[in-house]
Symmetry: C2
């Protein structure tokens, strides 16, 4: 057994009393051959190790540089330094692994986020990414806890799928056929019967349709898994591979759906606030520092913590798409032609700038927009009585824009089939989906929340590539 | 708001007292035009709805058949029937969705598991799969709770990857290049620079290497995500797409690793025992019924519940590969040449039959085998002082065989690079992996647990296709 250590996060809550402890971690800094700042990843707060002068020879001390791995046995004593209650007076120091200070890319100074993306395998060792990924962890755990406590069943829907059921965009092909000489049919087309699954397959864009199958048996289910878009979007908001949470609930209408989504978002934000206060405060300060280079009008109106508390303490604004169009049309922003995409009127698809105007300028809080024109929404959304709109909802968050989208589903077989034919969705191929409408169909609803956008919202990171460990984007699949 | 219902699982704990309640669910059976057995997926126990004779006309009652969806408002009364404490006396019954009894594939009788696989979109509505997937949910939640409570960070490692680092088997290609006319280089080879990621990419076989990157920053991390094998194995133990849990711990040696794995497995089994007792008892009885068709010697020696309790209450047997070979060689089973693959001696790879002999016949409990010959294990496993073995471990479970595999990792840069060259692993391509050994390397270890095998172990389901919602296997990617 080697792992007889105490984690620094736990140790920092001790009352110093000469207790003997063993700690292990990596050196962040070593000052005056006397003070080692040790970090083990459990918290951003370094543990100070006090090294008595003369106890170790210079040859040994020279090896203690940034990123050197140490095992230290010592006693916990009160710290004379400010900002820390305790420190360790080292009894023995063992070097587990050296680090060549000349070659180590992460020096104890500020590095740009762009540079850190290039060394994503090491960026977890910085305070920023330590905080981001501990918060990401807490949010993920909160997702599971929220749904488990409510009796939802976690479903793993397939990653490899034969259907582009949602029509949500371009997909990645999954195949074992040789690209340089694929088997062909007599007419020259590719013979997918020879492929691994005996048919053409892709990476999933959504687990919703399969989720509906399970919801119409278990009542309430959710998914939390990776989804994919082969879109050539090189932006700060898009990933080719990202994680999505998709709850699906039988016996829910659109209002039930919106209620659950709001409760859910508040729950996971609160969970991070309760469990990651120190990390969030660090990230709040980071955001302030980063925005110093911006002009006043470009800076966030609220601090990060303040923003999260505001979300927790206020109801999300709910309005219809139709009402939103009216607000946008009448806005000074529109009249002064400040939108890049002009507000052409009812029926238009909202752009990110419109959504952010509503959220950040007009309402100044999260917004749930409902009842969109059916022409701009998917085939499975429930058609409203007006013949023009569907029971859709988008949830818009300050600084992010769309963070979740959902709908009540069309549970009426005839209306669903008709809409599928109108939109050229292959009815026969989706026989299994339609079976849920044939055999005891029920009102049901669900939504999808992009997990990385949620992590961005809570951490204040402006680029989505900085909230997932190893981002997959066009022309980049490093690590 | 539509979702003003109480779930049946909760309702069944009530004391009947004429409370008015609303329930929604699907009809399982309707007896004598009087007794509806309603199920909402929260539990296998149906709720009895008592329908007063003469209250509804025959036309209406005729529509109430298996799988009809109902909304029932009524009062909770004591039940006169046996096996149930309470029932609902229906005040109003609303049919939410009809079901054509002639066409509905799931009749209230026993269907074969093979048949149910063909209608996997409906099999959640059976008692067996209701129980299996509720247990699967609990196990998944227990995974997250176990690691969260211990301060591990949940990492989402990439699904799409450019490296076959582990060399774990055949992989699925991920591409957006057109199969019928891919771009080519001058020498006729495929020009992957034109592919989405600018290089050749595959679906991951393991998140371990990326997990190690995070562990050497956070200390303790885990992954829980889908992994893939493009192996043409049409067996009851193999899936092309399955979920894996991979914890990775800095400052752990092999013994620490085995301790954690044993604690972890016991924790999630106990969680299911505590939270899914009713479902497990149902599955235990199902197993007894299924095994009735087998001869006595083929039946499980223990019942399902008994087996799980046994696992909780006994230490896993730990021994070295070398000791295991001796036991196998000396066994009567071997001497009577009952193994399909003879025990040739030290250095051989153990087959499933050998593992199961050790677990089921010799020790009769879970076994952790350690220190395998280095020739049959991966490049990243730590080389032992004997020059012949590596610090590997496999965990073997009764009825399943290998359920988890892991190792202490080789943290010494020179030894690791040497082993990579010997095994033709591309050293230059894995520069980022080797960086963890260059900059503050530490002893560390981890393991991978196949989630579906774990679900099989706990539910007693003998075919792995029956514990994942929509199995992906050769020539099959339905739903």
């Amino acid at each position: 057994m080697f792992n007889k250590r105490i984690k620094i996060k736990e140790l920092l809550s001790f009352e110093p009393n000469n207790q003997q402890v063993t700690v292990m971690g990596w050196v962040r800094t070593f000052r005056n051959n006397q003070f080692i700042a040790l970090n083990d990843g459990s918290t951003n707060t370094n543990l100070q190790i006090f090294v008595e002068l003369g106890k170790y020879d210079d040859e040994f001390l020279k090896k203690i540089t940034t990123s050197t791995a140490l095992k230290v046995i010592g006693v916990v004593i009160p710290s004379l330094g400010k900002g820390q209650k305790l420190e360790i007076k080292a009894g023995s120091i063992e070097i587990l692994g050296e680090s060549d200070a000349e070659k180590y890319p992460l020096q104890p100074k500020k590095h740009s986020l762009e540079f850190l993306r290039e060394i994503a395998h090491l960026r977890f060792r910085t305070n920023t990414f330590g905080a981001v990924f501990r918060v990401r962890h807490s949010l993920a755990f909160a997702v599971h806890k929220f749904f488990n406590d409510k009796g939802f069943v976690y479903m793993h829907t397939p990653i490899i799928t034969a259907s582009d059921a949602e029509g949500a965009g371009e997909m990645f092909r999954v195949s074992t056929l040789p690209l340089d000489n694929p088997p062909k049919n007599e007419d020259g087309s590719i013979n997918f019967k020879e492929d691994f699954f005996g048919r053409s397959t892709n990476l999933t864009v959504s687990g919703q349709l399969e989720g509906e199958l399970a919801a119409t048996a278990f009542g309430d289910i959710y998914t939390f898994g990776p989804t994919f878009r082969a879109e050539n979007s090189n932006t700060a908001r898009h990933l080719a591979e990202f994680w999505m949470i998709e709850p699906e609930m039988a016996f829910y209408d659109l209002e039930d759906n919106a209620n659950l989504a709001e409760e859910f978002i508040k729950y996971i934000v609160k969970f991070a606030m309760d469990n990651n206060r120190e990390d969030l405060e660090f990230l709040a300060q980071r955001l302030v520092d980063e925005e110093k280079q911006l002009t006043q009008d470009k800076r966030s109106e609220m601090g990060l913590i303040e923003k999260l508390e505001f979300v927790l303490n206020n109801n999300f604004e709910r309005l219809t798409y139709t009402e939103a169009i009216d607000i946008l049309k009448e806005s000074n922003h529109n009249k002064k032609k400040k939108f890049q995409y002009p507000v052409t009127g009812w029926g238009m698809d909202l752009q990110s700038e419109h959504e952010r105007y509503l959220v950040e300028k007009h309402f100044k809080k999260p917004v749930i927009l409902t009842n969109y024109p059916r022409e701009i929404k998917a085939f499975y959304m429930r058609q409203n009585e007006d013949g023009k709109t569907v029971a859709a909802m988008d949830i818009l968050a300050p600084g992010i824009g769309e963070i979740a989208g959902g709908s009540q589903r069309e549970e009426r077989l005839e209306k669903l089939e008709q809409r599928m034919r109108e939109m050229n969705v292959p009815v026969a191929q989706l026989w299994w989906y339609l079976d849920t409408r044939r055999f005891g169909t029920v009102p049901h609803a669900g939504f999808g929340l992009g997990f990385e956008r949620m992590v961005q919202f809570v951490t204040g990171m402006s680029n989505i590539r900085d909230v997932i460990a190893f981002p997959r984007t066009p022309k980049s699949a490093e690590f």
